[in-house]
Amino acid sequence: MIRKSHCIYKSTKLIHVLLEYTERTPQDCTTTTINSIMITGDFFVYPEESLDKLEASLIGTKLEEYPVRQKVQQWLRGSQVFGFDSESLTKAIMGCLDNGETKI
């Protein structure tokens, strides 16, 4: 089942996450994964283009705290962010699980 969700999370700055994910049912052997993600807000990222790379790297990632945090932390090694940290962005992404609306 494909779901979409929008989560707003207040860190130092505001983070919006628009997420589409495939939710696996208990009968499936695979896990819930990210299909697409868009992260928006009034934060600063340097270099700016690197946020696109984070979003691309999250596609196909299991929507679980550990793998999401790993990807965010890896990304932060090459980027500078003012407005959120790895913990707050991970929470913003995982917060989408609470708000999922069925798309298909």
Partner: protein, 221 residues
Amino acid sequence: MKSISKSTTDTPTLRLYGWFPTAVSIGYFQSMDQEVDVENCKKAGVDLVRRMTGGGAVLHDSELTYSFITREYPQNILESYSMICDPIITCLVNLGFNEVKFAALNDVVVDGKKVSGNAQTRKEGILLQHGTILLDVDPEKMFTLLKVPKEKIRDKVIDNVKERVMGVNRTFDEVSAALERAFSMKFAAKVLVDNITTKEISDSLKLIKVKYGTYGWNWRR
């Protein structure tokens, strides 16, 4: 930035300008539809644009906007913001304000109230920082054109802005002259006043057509 990147000289450039018509700019990472009441802006004749810098949505109305471009800057991002906000502080002190401070990352405050917001980008070894010095603030107008987060109440948001933000209540010309002197002092440089060249205007119009005026750019997020 494009002019300097192709230029044979490395002259830092300070631009001072206002906006007509009133416009809203959003930060590079923001979503136009999340932040802006596009319909109200259209009805009011307010232009919309996405900046190439991060930060929040700004209503460009009663303010002085500056942009500063240079090849010489600290690599540390916080230090570079502080360096370029320094002349803004000097400008405001010289206009008679007390308790003027840099509030990291990107604000200048007077008595704890924000009077200047700034944003920066770096491309091809060139730093661009731009920002505003508010001359006057109209929160009611602001939140007719900008969206109030749905979990907040409009009146409370407006009251909150009145407490946290202020205009300097000086004319554009007064602030412009004071800021120009402050940049000159900070960088120990003589300011050579010039106008935008015909080529720069032509290049700008091309950039509006192919990038900054397009739906693809302004609604990219």
